[in-house]
């Protein structure tokens, strides 16, 4: 399955399992979503279970929270992660707080899906990676898959989770892996081991990172599209680096990260979001706090620049394998 198909399958499986699950969002109904993730679901399950929403992201999240408080498990789509910001207050001040402030009387078991990240020439408002904003909000979980198998299993786990989950889907991976070489032919998921996706129910637990490549000399922390870029970058560097796919930022699998850096003594963090105050800062701080005496060189961050995502300069902005390889060489030199 492609990642789109895997996500669709997750939703299909869950709609079939639990009548309290329903889906809504802009264009997700009859049309099946601008990225086709909800394709066919309205037809199969009926309009009340998969329907179009007015263009009001704050309203979508508010409505979902109310439904969650009633006892449903709404799964909503925000058409692009860039457009989640009008709903930021509903997420941070309401969804994330409801359980705490009501002493557990109410909670918001909602899943907020959004296509995310760049690499498709979407320009400054269809390319962003806002994960750091959510990770800083106590009470939200943030999940980012990097392949079809994880996408399905993590989405199922997110839907089953009784906490609000922000589920960011790297849109550049929807139809195939992407290693950061735009000059090469587009690849599809066909034949990729992680594209072997069971038809039925399974889940991938939130909070467990995956070691995508084990290595001895340095640790690379990445998630989403950057997992594929990291693989390419590691190969180009010739360095025996261990690659960890975080899969969820909150909860974060700190044990896997610590074990790896304590083994390798070197760490490079790779993300597409702009650097300053990005999630890489938290990773860097954590690794430094917990592995200080194991570190043989400074932890480096390879990230998008501190500018908006510029249309013409997509590949200058995008932190590609060459930049990761350079950083890996630098941490090895020091």
């Amino acid at each position: 399955m492609t990642m789109v198909q895997a996500l669709n399958s997750a939703l299909d499986v869950m709609l079939a399992r639990d009548p309290d699950i329903l889906i809504f969002g802009e264009d997700v109904g009859y049309f099946g979503g601008v990225f086709r993730v909800t394709d066919g679901l309205q037809q199969k399950y009926g309009a009340p279970r998969c329907f179009d929403a007015p263009i009001a992201e704050g309203g979508i999240i508010a409505t979902a929270i109310g439904m969650g408080a009633y006892g449903l498990r709404p799964v909503v789509e925000i058409q692009f992660a860039d457009y989640i910001l009008p709903a930021f207050d509903q997420l941070a001040s309401e969804a994330a707080r409801l359980r705490y402030r009501s002493n557990g009387e109410f909670w918001a078991p909602i899943t907020v899906r959004a296509p995310y990240g760049g690499g498709i020439f979407g320009g400054q408002t269809h390319s962003q990676s806002p994960e750091a904003l959510f990770a800083h909000v106590c009470g939200l979980k943030t999940v980012i898959p990097s392949n079809p198998f994880d996408a399905k299993g993590l989405l199922i786990a997110a839907i089953e989770c009784d906490d609000p989950v922000i589920f960011l889907e790297p849109k550049r991976l929807y139809h195939g892996p992407f290693d950061g070489h735009p000059e090469q032919a587009t690849r599809s998921w066909a034949g990729h081991p992680a594209a072997e996706v069971p038809e039925g129910y399974y889940n991938v637990p939130l909070g467990a990172a995956a070691i995508v490549r084990s290595g001895h000399d340095a640790t690379v922390l990445a998630y989403g599209t950057m997992v594929h870029v990291a693989l390419a970058g590691i190969a180009e560097s010739g360095i025996d680096a261990e690659l960890i796919d975080l899969r969820s930022l909150v909860p974060l699998d700190i044990d896997t990260i610590m074990a790896s850096v304590q083994k390798t003594g070197r760490c490079v963090i790779l993300h597409e979001a702009s650097r300053f105050g990005g999630f890489g800062a938290e990773l860097s701080a954590l690794v430094q706090e917990r592995c200080f005496y194991h570190l043989e060189s400074p932890i480096l961050r390879v990230t998008g620049w501190d500018t908006p995502y510029p249309h013409a300069f997509e590949w200058d902005y995008f932190p590609g394998p060459a930049r990761l390889a350079a950083a890996l060489r630098r941490v090895m030199e020091d």
Partner: protein, 409 residues
């Protein structure tokens, strides 16, 4: 273009400020009984005049008149009177408790008690109210333990919200009272979603969302109205127009231009404008909208016209921005006094019995306060400290576990 007058920026200003005489001539009132009562399922286009009128039942003499008179059993009226009086007494005591340093903050609903109380009694037990901080009367009318309200206000060891919330920000699921919070208006949309969920399940429960008139300016108000209208959610959306939003008069929210009930028109939703200081009118309008919702005819917006007789909160001094005696000039009077008058002319009540009930309720609240203060006031008694780390998530992750440990727990 030459020869034209230059443009000018218009800044709305209230008719009177401190030192001036209170004026309410800008507020259009209908006579009690004057406004027709259409069938609750009437399409919006046939009731488009209602937002400019004022649904009233009690006239100035205290008689219940006209088509909106709900003709309630005496028992219900007595219950409402008692709940309104108790609310006022409770709030007065808690306000004083704040002045005595027993808590950090408090808010009163003086003059607006009819709204929460009548709604609480008119709706079904399993309906859900998405409240503001100015409907403590709902909880009192529904018999939520006063001592738990006080424990919440004191954030003490028995605080049902474990010390996590500012005073007054109650949550009481079993009493149909959704978790309150400071962020204005954010829960209006939750009411719509909750109502949609009830419809999705084929249940009978409806939701009531409430915001102040100042809060209608928030984008979330509009989004909630839009979703309610589009999906014909079984929800009552209420605006309590108490003329003030802290120091800003209602004109800053748009009252110079039209009524708040008129906002319904843009969504094809009926809008009622209702005397909020008249328990019977509040009751009748709430039932009308509830009936509409339960018959799958969709949402309504109700503007309750009322007046915030007290300051905004314990942090506020309203004499800085409005005439000190403005409340006394409010044309719709005081809701307790008006219901009392009605009951007296009906022969159901007397000044003497009123005085007696007042004394009884005072004693009751005083006793409860003693009980709460025996547990402790703010800072003198606390829920267990590890409650700080609970309920951030359903299950704490390593960060919270480590941080709890850092604090020595």
């Amino acid at each position: 273009m030459s020869g034209r007058l230059p443009l000018q920026l218009h800044i709305p200003m209230p008719l009177s400020r401190p030192g001036q005489s209170p004026r309410f001539d800008h507020i259009n009132l209908s006579a009690a009984g004057e406004v027709r009562r259409p069938d609750p399922c009437t399409p919006e286009r046939e009731v488009r005049d209602l937002p400019q009128l004022l649904v009233r039942v009690l006239d100035d003499a205290g008689r219940a008149v006209g088509p909106w008179n709900p003709v309630l059993p005496d028992g219900i009226l007595m219950q409402a009177l008692r709940a309104m009086m108790q609310t006022r007494i409770f709030e007065d005591r808690m306000f004083r408790a704040h002045r005595q340093g027993k808590t950090s903050f408090f808010m009163k609903s003086t003059g607006e008690e009819a709204i929460g109380v009548a709604q609480a009694l008119a709706l079904a037990p399993d309906d859900m109210c998405f409240p503001t901080y100015r409907v403590q009367g709902w909880l009192i009318a529904r018999g939520y333990p006063l001592v738990d309200m006080m424990n919440q206000v004191y954030s003490n060891a028995h605080d049902p919200l474990k010390g996590r919330q500012l005073p007054v920000m109650y949550s009481a699921r079993d009493y149909g009272f959704y978790s309150l919070s400071g962020n204005l208006g954010n829960r209006f949309g939750h009411a719509v979603g909750w109502a949609m969920a009830s419809a999705y399940k084929g249940d009978h429960r409806i939701a009531l969302g409430i915001v102040g008139e100042g809060t209608t300016a928030e984008g979330g108000f509009h989004e909630a109205m839009t979703f309610a209208s589009v999906y014909r959610a079984p929800v009552i959306l209420a605006v309590t127009n108490n003329q003030w939003a802290i120091s800003s008069y209602a004109g800053i929210a748009g009252a110079e231009e039209t009524t708040f009930a008129a906002k319904a028109t843009g969504y094809g939703m009926p809008g009622l404008r209702v005397d909020g200081n008249d328990v019977l009118a509040v009751w009748a309008a709430t039932c009308w909208a509830a009936e509409r919702a339960r018959q799958n005819c969709g949402p309504s917006l109700i503007e309750f016209l009322t007046y915030r007789a007290a300051g905004h909160s314990t942090s506020d001094d309203p004499t800085r921005y409005r005439p000190a005696d403005e409340a006394a000039h409010w044309p719709l009077g005081d809701p307790i006094a008006r219901l009392k008058q009605h009951l007296i002319i009906q022969g159901l009540w007397s000044e003497a019995r009123h005085v007696q009930l007042e004394a009884e309720l005072q004693d009751e609240v005083r006793a409860v306060q003693k009980e709460a203060e025996a547990i402790g006031t703010l800072g003198q008694s606390k829920p267990p400290l590890d409650e700080m780390f609970e309920d951030v998530f359903k299950e704490a992750d390593w960060r919270l576990i480590e941080q709890r440990r850092e604090l020595g727990l």
